[in-house]
């Protein structure tokens, strides 16, 4: 397994075949396959959750929820809608953001403002990561964005802000932020050579 993981660690193709093989087995209730799936996905999932939530205990809780959801709904995964990795990361992001928003709902405006001030510098995210080729690619491709596109995308993705909050933080009109988010992602997509 270790060998397979290493062999497929080529630029642009982080182990897709292996995840594709594992998923149908997980859908059939194969716990050993699920453990392998976990080995592949635990670092990206946990990294993203913790990046958004910061708090280690909460991150662990939410990461656990993510994996339970992957287990539970593996039966409904459809390759036509995207890769296993994208499916898993979508769930991880969504659950983290849900957690942020539900916590946020119970805090007042002042607290929210304080939280915004505590936001880490935009490029710090690339410092905390563990990853090799992917990290390099992400760093390089983020560099092809305009500063405003990059800020908008990173605030939304890594901080879990709504585009309205992003607009507020960057003091920009809503329409501009919407456009930047999309244009920024399209530019990243093209830079990374992503297909779906």
């Amino acid at each position: 397994m270790r060998e397979r993981a290493q062999r497929s660690r080529e630029p642009g193709g982080p182990r897709p075949a292996t995840l594709d093989e594992l998923l149908p087995r997980v859908a059939r209730g194969d716990e050993a396959a699920f453990e392998q799936l976990y080995r592949h996905l635990s670092a990206p999932v946990f990294g993203l959750v913790q990046r958004i939530l910061r708090d280690p205990a909460q991150s662990e809780e939410v990461a656990q929820e993510v994996f339970l959801e992957l287990w539970r709904s593996a039966t409904r995964y459809s390759p036509e809608r995207g890769s296993v990795l994208s499916w898993a990361m979508t769930i991880a992001h969504r659950k983290s953001v849900d957690r942020v928003r539900s916590a946020q709902a119970s805090t007042d405006r002042d607290t929210r403002a304080a939280r915004a001030e505590n936001a880490r510098p935009f490029d710090e995210v690339t410092e905390v990561v563990a990853g090799r080729m992917e990290r390099e690619q992400v760093r390089r491709c983020l560099g092809t964005l305009t500063e405003l596109q990059r800020e908008s995308v990173m605030l939304a993705y890594y901080q879990g802000y709504t585009y309205r909050e992003v607009a507020h933080l960057l003091d920009s009109p809503l329409g501009t932020v919407k456009t930047r988010l999309r244009d920024g992602l399209i530019r990243l997509r093209d830079c990374m050579g992503v297909t779906a």
Binding site: S86, R135, R139
Partner: protein
């Protein structure tokens, strides 16, 4: 395609929309194959942003996950002969579920649907309320006009249109079962060959609401075709029902 809504693909994949906006976008996406494609591509893109943050979780996480899955039943897969609505999109099944609950049509598949998150039920209720208000918009309008058409192979299509409220709902009842992952797609027809998509429904019973009739401008009829999952940009199959608008 509504360009303004379409620009939300970025904010949508970043989970940066409010609940209401997210639902509005999903409604839009249901009739917008181009949006589907873009969303899929942008999701692959954000996944890379996510993997760049990879960091090893504490070792006890696996133990917890492993212990927990012992108590979690996997949701059943969608069997082949279930209505296509259940395998394509949450929205369409939600429409069907809601429509039945509202007593407007007897929708099949009630209570069966996508189970995606713990909040799903709450989600669906809120969604149902959105759909309900969209449908009520037409049904409660003082100027509501009702037009009907039969569906080839059986069933009835009823459109309730309110010009004053700028909304419409098309109700489909007892239409033939859809093959595979196909969907019913509704079109505004201006002239032969000039159609704009008005939404899709992946079940034999259910509703397609429209909360804005701008794309219907100049339409003389509604047409229904059977299209592949997600709908088509232009009708690719023959028309199975036509509703003449008075």
């Amino acid at each position: 395609m509504n360009n303004d809504v379409h620009t939300l693909t970025g904010a949508y994949v970043l989970d940066a929309l409010s609940e209401m906006e997210r639902r509005a976008f999903e409604d839009h996406m249901a009739g917008c194959p181009a949006c589907h494609q873009e969303v899929a591509e942008l999701r692959e893109t954000t996944a890379r942003l996510g993997t760049a943050t990879a960091i090893a979780p504490p070792p006890q996480l696996w133990n917890k996950v492993h212990a927990a899955i012992g108590n979690v039943r996997q949701i059943p897969p969608l069997s082949v002969d279930e209505p296509a609505s259940l395998r394509t999109r949450r929205r369409t099944s939600r429409v069907a579920v809601f429509a039945a609950a509202a007593g407007i049509v007897a929708a099949v598949g009630l209570g069966v649907g996508w189970v995606v998150t713990n909040n799903d039920l709450q989600d669906r209720l809120a969604q149902s309320q959105t759909e309900l208000s969209q449908i009520q918009c037409a049904l409660n309008a003082p100027d509501a006009k009702v037009s009907t058409g039969t569906v080839q192979g059986g069933g009835l299509a009823t459109a309730v249109v309110s010009a004053r409220q700028n909304c419409m709902v098309m109700l489909l009842k007892d239409a033939p079962k859809l093959p595979g992952t196909s969907v019913y797609q509704l079109w505004y027809v201006r002239a032969p060959g000039q159609q704009t998509s008005a939404g899709i429904l992946a079940a034999s019973n259910g509703a397609i609401p429209a909360s804005d009739l701008t794309p219907a401008k100049g339409a003389v009829a509604l047409a229904i075709t059977i299209e592949p999952a997600g709908g088509s940009p232009t009708p690719s199959e023959k028309i199975v029902s036509t509703i003449q608008l008075a």
